[in-house]
């Protein structure tokens, strides 16, 4: 399943949230010659279920549409990608987005990514957890697409309207 902007845009616009915020940061170059979006997609690819193909559109809409302070987020993003690439280089000898899915997974599994603390003002890795991994997980599992996989099309954190109430199962 390819993720699109579609499920996101309507609801976010309805909620009065600017969906373009932060997009400017995505064209900047990083140390590894990849655009930040490529790195995010390669990260989302191992975080999200294998049936899901994360697209830049989805990530852009769901993640950046929800970032209220673009400037500081861009800084965290750039710094986070640097940390991620450092870990990837140490573990697997290459920039994160250039690695295979298995290699990317093992970078996460062999470091404090995911298992370590996730803090907005913590260590480099704690900030990657907070600003990159957790943002991507929030984006997916508070979207109808992520929610649907466990049977909830309006998960908490998503403005999918109110009052959904199917009939009682007998």
């Amino acid at each position: 399943m390819e993720l699109t902007r579609r499920d996101a845009v309507t609801a976010l616009t309805a909620a009065g949230i600017t969906t373009t915020a932060g997009c400017a940061g995505l064209t900047g170059e990083t140390g590894s010659d990849a655009e930040p979006m490529e790195v995010l997609v390669s990260l989302a690819d191992v975080l999200y279920p294998s049936d899901i193909e994360p697209t830049p559109e989805f990530i852009e809409t769901f993640m950046y549409g929800r970032i209220t302070d673009e400037e500081s987020y861009r800084e965290e993003l750039t710094a986070g990608i640097e940390t991620l690439n450092q870990l990837a280089a140490d573990e697997q000898g290459g920039a994160f987005h250039t690695l295979s899915a298995d290699q990317r997974r093992s970078v996460i599994e062999n470091t404090d990514l995911r298992t370590g603390p996730s803090e907005p003002d913590g260590s480099d890795v704690a900030r990657v957890n907070y600003y990159l991994l957790d943002e991507l997980l929030f984006a997916f599992y508070s979207s109808p697409t992520g929610g649907e996989l466990i049977g909830n099309t309006n998960p908490r954190g998503f403005p999918g309207g109110f009052g959904y109430s199917p009939s009682l199962e007998q």
């Binding site: 599992y141 309006n154 998960p155 908490r156 959904y164």
Partner: protein, 548 residues
């Protein structure tokens, strides 16, 4: 992160206003608007900032993030918000109150039942507590006005409600899936499930309608949930002036000790300013208002202002809780899909003839488990493994939360802790509150009823607070501090109370108190609609006084 527009805000005192209101929560906001709307010059002094609306999505994400505390959502904590808890139980005040334009209503759940007739006369009816100097009938028109002002969706016809003079401004919220499960079980057991009055816009009001974020408590990004910043802005549109990040340090009185002359406030750049006015209203919430009066001690009033009765900071109350969460194996409960956290309740044990006497207000939850995204972040798994884990963990939960009546007791107190100071060098408040048997019995009854309902649904209890049965490992101590009341109670007798029935202090001719602090008993209904009704009533008295 930039979260407010305070850097450039003007903080000079307003030139001779009619009314100076301290605190921009529901109590201060409705009163200020009511007075500004009638042409009075009002200035509001608020300790916290004016939060950017745009920041609400980010705050909502903090709420969902597993490693961020509730106190972080609205930037609470630090030296500014220091306090001491001398109670035996945790009282995490900075996870409860919010400081800023809108006050604690920024993170309330917006459940707005009225108090019952009995709540005003518990001594007369049941020989407990103390009767209010006003009755339900006195407050009834103000309840109606408050409901119209904030926009309440509620049932016009429902059992176990106090008398109504007119319908609610909006139809009740739709029945949720959880409501249906509860209703079916309640029908079998002979209990009544009924819609809960909620201050959530379903479309009729001129703010965004509910968008179903499902995070009402503690952040509503859409603004469909009422919060008091709405009436602060309305008051401003009528000419009121709001100064933010100006914590009032103390009130000053004139040489004869009969009138307040100024509210002395601090500004972020370290200055101290004086706001004069004809009338002053302390609406700083039930935690901070007693402290402010105690901090205003003078040679003439060494025990604090408005405290000739010695009751400032006494008879402090809260509600008992009884959060019970059940798990229904192999059943879908559609947790959180519905949006608003609560839409129905069980009210029949509020005012029945059976023991326990203490009022019981049961709120049925539309989401009894952590948000999906929170579970995802909390896990260490990746990809398909993560999804499999979430499928195993998520869903099948059902629950109810209760507020239960606590009696006023002289020894439940807010005092000053002279050994600890805030960022301005003022002694912090010290709360010392112990729930008695009365409230624990009411909580336990609610926990039992919820348990019965969950078992009727075919479920088992996963988590329980407030029960009397202390031997199961899922039983947790109750959570406290959500509904502070008392501490500056109302009464006719100046030797036993702080304010009179108009909310004016007995001791000072131009000082009013608005908020849960004036409650004589605590009822079981969530307190804020009553706080609002009392504020609108006080505004009428102040208006009359300013006219004459």
């Amino acid at each position: 992160m930039t979260t407010n527009q305070s850097a450039t805000a003007d903080r000079t005192p307003v030139d001779s206003p009619d009314v100076c209101v301290v605190g921009a929560g529901p109590a201060g906001a409705l009163l200020s608007h009511s007075l500004a709307n009638r042409g009075h010059d009002v200035v509001i002094l608020e300790a916290g900032p004016r939060f950017d609306k745009e920041s609400r999505v980010d705050r909502m994400k903090r709420q969902i993030h597993p490693d961020r505390g509730v106190d972080e959502i609205w930037d609470m904590g630090g030296e500014r918000d220091e306090y001491t808890n001398s109670s035996e139980r945790p009282m995490p005040l900075n996870k409860r109150r919010v400081k800023g334009v809108g006050g604690t209503s920024l993170h309330w759940a917006s459940v707005v039942p009225r108090f019952r007739e009995r709540d005003f006369e518990m001594q007369n009816r049941h020989g407990v507590g103390k009767d209010w100097p006003i009755s339900y009938a006195d407050l009834q028109p103000y309840y109606a006005e408050a409901e119209q002002e904030i926009g309440v969706a509620g049932p016009d016809e429902a059992p176990h409600q106090p008398p109504r003079e007119q319908g609610y401004p909006m139809d009740p919220l739709p029945t949720s899936y959880a409501d249906k499960l509860f209703t079916k079980a309640a029908d079998a057991l002979g209990y009544d499930v009924q819609p809960m009055p909620m201050a959530i816009n379903t479309g009729a009001y001129d703010r965004d309608e509910c968008q179903g974020y499902g995070t009402c408590e503690h952040v509503c990004p859409s603004g469909g949930k009422y919060s008091a910043d709405i009436h602060v802005e309305k008051a401003e549109a009528e000419g009121a002036k709001v100064l933010t990040e100006v914590p009032v340090q103390r009130f000053e009185h004139g040489p004869d000790g009969e009138e307040i002359t100024a509210a002395v406030y601090a500004t972020p750049d370290g200055e101290t300013r004086r706001q004069e006015a004809d009338v002053f209203v302390a609406a700083a919430g039930a935690y901070e208002t007693p402290r402010l009066l105690l901090l205003s001690a003078s040679d003439q009033y060494p025990n604090g202002l408005a405290n000739s009765s010695g009751t400032v900071g006494k008879y402090v109350m809260d509600h008992g809780g009884a959060l019970v969460i059940g798990f229904l194996p192999d059943q879908e409960t559609h947790s959180a899909e519905y949006g608003p956290v609560i839409s129905s309740g069980i009210q029949q044990f509020y005012d029945d003839d059976e023991d326990p006497i203490g009022g019981i207000n049961m709120m049925l939850l539309n989401q009894a488990e952590s948000p999906l995204a929170q579970m995802a972040m909390e896990s260490n798994a990746l990809g398909d493994d993560l999804l499999a884990e979430l499928k195993r963990q998520y869903g099948g939960t059902i629950g109810a939360s209760t507020s239960a009546e606590m009696l006023p007791r002289e020894d439940n107190t807010i005092t000053l802790d002279e050994s600890k100071t805030d960022n301005h060098g003022n002694p912090v408040l010290d709360i010392d509150i112990t729930p008695g048997q009365y409230v624990r019995d009411a909580s336990a009854k609610a926990a039992d009823v919820t348990t019965e309902l969950v078992e009727e649904m075919g479920g088992r209890i996963a988590f329980e607070q407030g029960s009397h049965t202390p031997n199961a490992d899922y039983i947790e101590p109750e959570q406290y501090g959500y509904h502070p009341m008392g501490g500056t109670r109302m009464g006719e007798d100046p030797s036993e109370s702080v304010v009179d029935p108009t909310l004016k202090t007995h001791d000072l001719d131009n000082l009013y108190i608005s908020g849960g602090g004036v409650f004589v008993t605590g009822g079981a209904a969530n307190p804020t609609l009553t706080i609002m009704a009392l504020s609108l009533k006080a505004a009428d008295h102040i208006h009359e006084e300013l006219q004459s």
